[in-house]
Subunit: 401 residues, 2 copies
């Protein structure tokens, strides 16, 4: 028998995709003794497993549900999503305006592959969703970072870059309850961004998995409501269940047609079974409304528990913006502590998080920040996690309340 692992030449593009530091970290935080604030996982205890199981049983009664499906997605699901997205946008959408994907990550990957040639400029946020950085690197794009502040992407900085000559093909934003900062793009910035897209001819990729997780129940008005050069990405992973692998996109018709063509050679189609379940649950308005309300309330409780515990244990050594939705709180040390240095000791004390440097779009940045996910654990575990983090940082013990 010959060598079981011959050398394999990899494509230049793949060599450009940096490994995800987060992913390597998640392997460490998967230890049962570690409370992980690191992943971007919805709370397993908050997923509507029984309702999914019931819908699966119903779906599996249809012979067509185990067969191949249409590449663009199950008609019934596209109709429900058109209604849901149309309501967000404030204008009617048809089933043909929606393509269903394998999570919104696949929508992002397909949009990038359908529109980008190597070297094309793409604007990303800084700090950024790491999965977006990887997609654009895999597409061979030239990344240009625009900072994020408490009001989301600094659209004025983008406008200045555009005025100075930058001509991006795409501008990517996690517009609501940003990953990793939790910030939401301010209403006037949304209108300005859509206007810039029309003026300069780029596409905005509005990546919006968290919009419906607004604690006050008011999902922000999408960037796409302000203009037509916006492709919106949505996901069932944060509002129903990740294992459905249901995401979607809406946007300009020529782009949807291209994405559908590319999806066909990427994986033929999604799962009709899973798409039936998503359609059933999203179409059951009384149930879905109640589920979302309960989910938002639980997430708000978790966010409060986390920030209270941060305040208790770290006082003014950490600053943050209170989350108003989503899953993440971005905290920054004011005393010079570098979370990357804190992490090994934190893991030893049984708590994990992601240092801010992992989200830097360009060179080393965000060295004093870290992302804490409040969604994956109930309040009591979040409090324990912060006690452990404080102990790892050598901070004086605070009695449990």
């Amino acid at each position: 028998m010959t060598d079981p692992s011959p050398p394999v030449r990899l494509s230049a593009r793949l060599r450009d995709v940096r490994g995800s530091a987060i992913r390597d970290l998640l392997a460490l935080t998967a230890r049962p003794d570690v409370i992980s604030l690191a992943g971007g996982l919805p709370g397993t205890d908050l997923l509507p497993r029984d309702r999914v199981a019931a819908a699966l049983a119903t779906a599996a009664a249809d012979p067509a549900a185990v067969q191949y499906g249409e590449t663009a997605g199950l008609r019934r699901l596209r109709e429900v999503l058109a209604a849901v997205e149309g309501e967000r946008l404030g204008r009617p959408l048809a089933a043909a305006d929606v393509v269903v994907t394998s999570g919104s990550q696949q929508a992002l990957d397909l949009v990038a592959r359908a529109t980008l040639d190597p070297g094309d400029p793409v604007v990303v946020e800084d700090p950024a969703y790491v999965g977006a950085l990887q997609v654009f690197q895999a597409a061979g794009a030239a990344l240009h970072a625009v900072p994020v502040d408490g009001g989301g992407m600094a659209v004025d900085v983008l406008a200045a870059r555009l005025a100075a000559g930058l001509r991006p093909a795409l501008v990517h934003t996690v517009s609501s309850f940003h990953n990793p900062t939790g910030a939401t793009l301010a209403p006037e910035r949304r209108a300005a961004l859509a206007g810039l897209a029309d003026r300069y001819g780029f596409l905005v990729v509005e990546d919006d998995p968290y919009g419906r997780l607004a604690f006050d129940g008011r999902a922000p008005v999408p960037v796409a409501a302000h203009g037509s050069r916006v492709v919106r990405l949505g996901s069932a992973s944060k509002v129903l269940a990740p294992a459905l692998r249901v995401g979607w996109l809406t946007g300009p018709a020529p782009l949807l047609a291209a994405v559908e063509r590319l999806k066909q050679c990427t994986d033929l189609c999604g799962s009709t079974l899973a798409q039936s379940v998503a359609a059933d649950l999203l179409a059951d308005t009384p149930w879905f409304t109640a589920h979302l309300a309960a989910l938002r309330a639980a997430l708000r409780d978790r966010a409060t528990a986390l920030t209270d515990a941060v305040r208790t244990h770290f006082g003014p050594a950490l600053t943050w913006q209170d989350p108003s939705g989503g899953m993440f709180c971005w905290v920054t040390f004011t005393d010079g502590t570098r979370p990357a240095d804190l992490l090994p000791g934190a893991l030893e004390h049984g708590v994990g998080f992601v240092p801010g440097t992992a989200f830097a779009a360009g060179a080393d940045a965000h060295g004093h920040a870290m992302r804490l996910c409040f969604a994956s654990n109930p309040p009591s575990r979040l409090r324990t996690a912060l006690r452990r983090l404080a102990a790892a940082g050598g901070r004086p013990a605070v009695p449990a309340t």
Copy 2:
């Protein structure tokens, strides 16, 4: 409101991906009055829907089953697949030797993206699996076609091209019960192909969704059993159910690592629910063995019904090789008839098929051939389909037997 569909600039690569004539055709054959021999769909009536439903109910009892999963796939499924594939290969495999994908189509796409730079030469079969042509076009590859005959890919022709200087990065083959010809790569050609891969340093992509559908129950010994420069793609779609969207690959470790990295930015992970179901069914050896035996027997009956009806209605005007497994029969007119010309009338008569030209790897070829799928319909419908096809071709009516 601005123009709802602004122009969108598409990537150069996407412009190279030809539309699938088959796909356009499937839209026509989806009419309920048309019996389709066109698609590559397993028979819906042969899918183990009840068993899938039971396994889904079991899987959904585990809270982790609705959460995100590992990018490389559920550990338990990788273990089962390692056992199954190891048995085919005649050497032990470990779970780490398997990456689970969204159908084998995604495995093919990821392998292409992980290994190919634009312009890289890739050898494809002629006629070819159209989904492979699209993947390689999307990767910007330069395609080189090698003919397929009754013994599968003409490996001697490939050897001559290699000797003349061709240096492909990949050589793609549907090695068993070929799509579209039904041919199986002869044993001596398998060994020769693996030897050429070692000698010239290319990777063989052994695309094998049909191997276990051998009518005699003897799955051919894989090309990968003869050498190490082979990546094998497998699929649950033809032996369990397409809606699971479970495929997999085994091969050189550096390639698997690259595919896993790329899959992470492509769709994060597959569905733990669906992967649990696949693991349960594949691990239930008594059930799976009996299911496969029944499936093979049904497919053999369908193949026989199809070829008997072809003989009855067309006599010597059509030639073919009797299928020995899989889903397809490739029939060629000896009287100058061009199936592409026959198709509109055939659809009017209520029967669909795919003209051979749709599978041509290069310029116009296979103008007298057509692919007939015998898997999707029971024998009585296959007989009706052939009667309709004969009528469309203006052939004398033969009484139903």
